[in-house]
């Protein structure tokens, strides 16, 4: 297990493509792990206090990590616990393992993730489980749970897996969604634009784009895209 604490308040963002596997390396290697601080390449030990306890593939991030990007990107095993806020792109492209954020997450949480689990106890911002600009498929496996609220563009181009939002969401939920499930317990804005497949379940109020037709158990569309997506109201 590896415990990281910021040594100072970061003035610019830190690009840190770190996964729990790093915790298995020896101490010197961990200290020398290279990250970008702004445009400069620096060693991990220059930015963080590092404490290693055993070889378990687990990262504990203590303090404010809201300026730290790409944590857990492409991770395939182990666990990350963030005892605070986390920056953009957390868990992007991940294929396995688990990330727990006790504070809030920023944009691009679990973008294009293929497997594993992300739990956020606070809020998350925009583009949860989305595809990056230009790519054809967003999140395609695994599960993202957000206890609080989220922003816009949740699950855009989603191709599988599940996103569960216990609070409310913004606009454009499941845009161009192809497969998978989005569950929203609170309210949200427009849903399902150009949706082709998959299911969106909503407990609160929402606005449907005009391309949906009413069917027995909810709404189907987006007919403009020849879609067979489902938007369902749940109790």
């Amino acid at each position: 297990m590896l415990i990281l604490k910021p040594k100072f308040d970061f003035e610019v963002s830190v690009e840190m493509e770190i996964t729990p596997s790093v915790a298995k390396a020896d101490e010197q290697e961990i200290k020398d792990f290279e990250v970008y601080y702004g445009k400069k390449k620096v060693k991990l030990s220059e930015l963080f206090e590092i404490k290693k306890e055993g070889d378990e593939a687990k990262l504990v991030l203590e303090g404010d990590f809201s300026k730290v990007k790409w944590v857990g990107t492409r991770m395939d095993e182990g666990e990350i616990v963030v005892k605070g806020n986390i920056g953009d792109h957390c868990g992007a492209y991940m294929t396995g393992g688990k990330i727990v954020v006790e504070g809030n997450a920023l944009d691009w949480l679990g973008a294009e993730m293929k497997g594993g689990e992300i739990i956020v106890k606070g809020n998350a911002r925009n583009y949860v489980g989305c595809a990056y600009y230009g790519d054809m498929t967003g999140m395609s496996g695994g599960k993202i749970t957000v206890d609080g609220n989220v922003g816009n563009y949740i699950g855009e181009k989603m191709g599988g897996g599940e996103i569960e939002i216990k609070g409310s969401a913004g606009d454009f939920i499941g845009t161009e969604m192809k497969d998978g499930v989005i569950v929203i317990h609170g309210d949200c804005g427009f849903v399902g634009g150009d949706m082709k497949g998959g299911t969106i379940k909503i407990k609160g109020n929402f606005e449907l784009v005009p391309g949906f037709k009413e069917v027995e158990d909810g709404f189907e569309g987006d007919v403009n895209a020849g879609g067979k997506g489902k938007v369902v109201k749940i109790a």
């Binding site: 445009k39 990056y132 600009y133 230009g134 790519d135």
Partner: protein, 563 residues
């Protein structure tokens, strides 16, 4: 250009233009040119090229490296811009997966030992922008071919059979766009597409003009020859990307039969892979490469380039707007159209060539068939960057042409469809290193009419590539991996006498020249004055006085006056 003198010692030289085949030689450089030994004295920098291959710098005569198309491509494909090649420092930041940014284009060519690349389709109204972009590409020499085949002036003069005016118009247009030669894209078809149509055969009439592609191509060849331009007509045939189109291609080639030129071909047909399909639909599509190759080999006034697809990402972009729309319908991928007033159009569609996709595998095989079956003196190596794939994979194509073993290995991973639809598996031809060097250096230079390029004779530009490959020892047929690796990264790339890249690392940023052709003294320029005024007044969105590119606006222009 450098005033440093160079002595490249003990290299093993292949220089097809001068008939040098793997001879141990010394090369001397002074003032950016190749000179006799007696010319150099005093402070001479020596490069030890022992047991290494020394050739002229590579010459890519057909790539899309500047202009509105590639820029729209960059805009619509943000995903291409995630590959970071070089972060800013001594050199400029360069990014891009296949669609590179301008600095990246120059840098990647240089690393590979290429020193010249021509933009193969410049929308005339976008000429200024094209030149500004060319000026942003470091390291290499450049030029651009403006497109003529759908320009209203051309259609009008051909319809009126007023060839004197057509001749003057070509000379005028080359000067205004600072262009190099006459490019033709789907003649008539792009204009027809503005009305929802296309020109599928050489005898389809262009709506509103009463002319046919046959007449347009013939007239443009005739006047290009009358102007005695460096380069011949550069034709992208009608019906590109359609099953059965090899017949249109051969028919178009036959239009050149009544012309001849002692110095060069009279028609260059480009990225012929996309125009060599047999069959009647995508269900029964097959290779027509053998027939095309047979025709090209039987005549001596035509050259072609391959348009070889590379498996992986690419971006289709051509002045052939109707084809791009068809491709977009076929693949469901994003599409952008680019109109250029009364001159033509273009389209852009992202594409990825997949080995297991029968059509993509077929295209890949056809490109190679053309490269192998056509006489090495008539086929230039190209990927039609970025249509067929990245130019950085030229070494792959070079190695494939030289090794049947490598082809057999590659055939194992592609769709079995190529086995029945092409001849590739049964082709035993293995091009020699000498032939492949010809196809990437001396031949493209000859096709473009550039006497100072593509060879290492005295007087040539000192554009030199040195590769870690001993032609006397290597057996390209078996050592294809060595060959591929060696050509991927030049040990030295020398541009105009300066070392610009060494073992894959950039050494110095230099700015190449932009060539343009001035043929105005061969035509009665006054004849078209009133027509130009009239057409600009009526149809252009800008005034004639604001149209075109002044020589002083270009970084390092080089005017070639046609005698």
């Amino acid at each position: 250009m450098s005033d440093i003198m160079l002595h490249i010692k003990n290299g093993i030289v292949i220089d097809p233009k001068n008939g040098v085949n793997a001879e141990k030689m010394d090369i001397f450089v002074k003032n950016g040119k190749i000179v006799e030994e007696s010319e150099v004295s005093g402070e001479v920098k020596t490069i030890d090229a022992s047991n290494k291959l020394v050739v002229a710098g590579g010459f890519d005569m057909h790539a899309h490296i500047a202009g509105s198309k590639i820029n729209v491509g960059r805009e619509m494909r943000p995903e291409e811009m995630r590959t970071v090649r070089l972060i800013a420092g001594k050199f400029r930041a360069s990014i891009g997966r296949v669609l590179l940014t301008s600095p990246a284009i120059g840098y990647e060519y240089a690393k590979m030992g290429y020193t010249t690349a021509f933009e193969a389709a410049q929308p005339p109204v976008g000429a200024l922008h094209t030149h500004e972009e060319l000026d942003a590409i470091p390291m290499i020499d450049k030029a651009a071919l403006p497109v003529f085949g759908n320009w209203h002036f051309v259609l009008k003069y051909v319809a009126e059979k007023d060839f004197e005016k057509l001749r003057a118009f070509i000379a005028w247009a080359l000067e205004r766009t600072k262009g190099f030669g006459v490019k033709v894209v789907n003649p008539g078809g792009v204009e027809a597409w503005m009305y929802g149509g296309n020109c599928k055969s050489l005898d389809d009439e262009v709506p509103g003009f009463g002319v046919t592609p046959r007449e347009i191509i013939t007239a443009l060849i005739q006047e290009t020859e009358n102007l005695n331009l460096c380069h011949s007509v550069h034709l992208h045939c009608n019906n590109l990307g359609t099953p059965g189109n090899y017949e249109t291609t051969i028919e178009s080639m036959k239009l050149a039969s009544k012309f001849s030129n002692e110095k060069r071909q009279v028609l260059h047909v480009t990225h012929v892979q996309f125009n060599s399909y047999a069959g009647s639909s995508w269900r029964d599509v097959a290779s027509g490469a053998a027939e095309v190759a047979k025709y090209v080999n039987s005549v001596d006034n035509i050259t072609i380039d391959m348009g070889q697809p590379i498996f992986g990402h690419a971006t289709a972009m051509t002045g052939d707007a109707p084809f791009q729309f068809t491709l977009h319908k076929l693949t469901g991928a994003r599409w952008s159209n680019k109109d250029s007033e009364i001159e033509g159009g273009a389209g852009i569609v992202p594409i990825a060539y997949l080995p297991k996709n029968p059509v993509h595998a077929l295209q890949w095989a056809i490109g190679l068939e053309l490269g192998l079956l056509v006489d090495s003196d008539k086929v230039v190596l190209s990927t039609d960057y970025p249509n067929g794939g990245p130019f950085t994979e030229y070494p792959y194509v070079m190695a494939m042409l030289m090794s049947k073993k490598m082809r057999e290995k590659e055939l194992e991973r592609v769709s079995p469809y190529v086995q029945k639809a092409t001849n590739l598996p049964s082709i035993d031809v293995e091009k020699t290193l000498y032939e492949v060097i010809h196809m990437t250096r001396s031949l493209p230079a000859r096709v473009m009419g550039m006497d100072s390029k593509g060879h290492l004779g005295v007087g040539a530009d000192a554009d030199i590539a040195i590769y870690d490959l001993n032609p006397l020892e290597v057996d390209p047929s078996n050592d294809f991996e060595t060959v591929y690796k060696a050509f991927k990264t030049a040990v030295y790339t020398i541009k105009g006498g300066e070392i610009i890249a060494k073992e894959g690392e950039l050494v110095k940023e230099v700015w190449g020249r932009t060539f343009w052709v001035d043929a105005r003294n061969k035509a009665a320029m006054d004849a078209i004055e009133s027509d130009l005024d009239d057409m600009f007044e009526k149809y252009y969105s800008l005034q004639r006085v604001n149209y075109g590119v002044e020589e002083a606006w270009i970084k390092k222009p080089e005017r070639l006056v046609m005698g």
